[in-house]
Symmetry: C2
Subunit: 128 residues, 2 copies
DNA sequence: ACCAGATACCTTGTATAACAAAGTACTATA
DNA sequence: TATAGTACTTTGTTATACAAGGTATCTGGT
């Protein structure tokens, strides 16, 4: 079990949340998002971001406009729809509760109030 | 896109971390873990927990002993190996950095310092 | 001795999503 | 008209949560 896998798992959950949040602050295109995520040390690659944006679009949470650039091909500038704003509000609650729950578990160093004393016959044991 | 899917994604990342933490505090068996996770409002079902414990075992992060019970079939009591403790230490760092990064993004309400003013030709746009 | 119910652990199939890598398309500049 | 840079897309692989159903063990009542 590689630590990278678990780290990826941790990232997965918050990625959608972070991206919706970035879009909620004003029109941005993919490279803007990559830059901000990278500066916050959340590693994402194109192959993750573009399909995610497509999913958000299909779900009606974001919309975009093609905008021409003076320095290259046109860009898709994303905005949040009303449904996206509602979704983001729900995610905010979910995230905050999850942080709270995790802290509850990881700062609890004996857990005696929730762990029943169910060890009744510890004299006999065998390895499997 | 259902909100449940995203919530599941968020949970996925921290589940391994929480379970290793629970095991690190003393010997527990699966039902103990389920009870504690549930009391912290982190919903997990057997079909998730048991395969996860098997993965952790195969990775050498946890070990277990069969212990007989006076009130039913024997139970697998889990303990953390040295490798598991090291892994947990790394996960703790990862988790804390991720919370920090997420806060950085979600509490930043204009992002003007990291968003380049790249909108240069916004006069022409078309929907796709 | 037998059976029902409770407890504990396990397995199979499905769906989702990140990622690596390679590809397509458009623009500016030499 | 090449070449380099920018922007967006696609394909195949892998990991893992979950629902649902299964197996095995133990206790207590009759």
């Amino acid at each position: 079990m590689k630590i990278e896998n678990t780290q990826v798992q941790m990232r997965k959950g918050i990625l959608e949340y972070c991206i919706l949040h970035i879009i909620s602050r004003g029109e941005v295109y993919a490279s803007d998002m990559l830059e901000e995520l990278t500066s916050a040390k959340i590693m994402v690659v194109e192959g993750t971001l573009y399909p995610l944006l497509t999913r958000l679009r299909k779900a009606g949470l974001v919309d975009y406009q093609w905008v021409e650039s003076t320095s290259g091909p046109p860009r898709k500038y994303y905005t949040l729809t009303q449904a996206g704003q509602d979704f983001l509000t729900q995610l905010k609650t979910t995230w905050e509760e999850l942080v709270k729950s995790t802290n509850q578990i990881t700062t609890n160093n004996n857990g005696s109030e929730s762990l029943p004393t169910t060890v009744t016959d510890p004299q006999k044991s065998s390895q499997s």
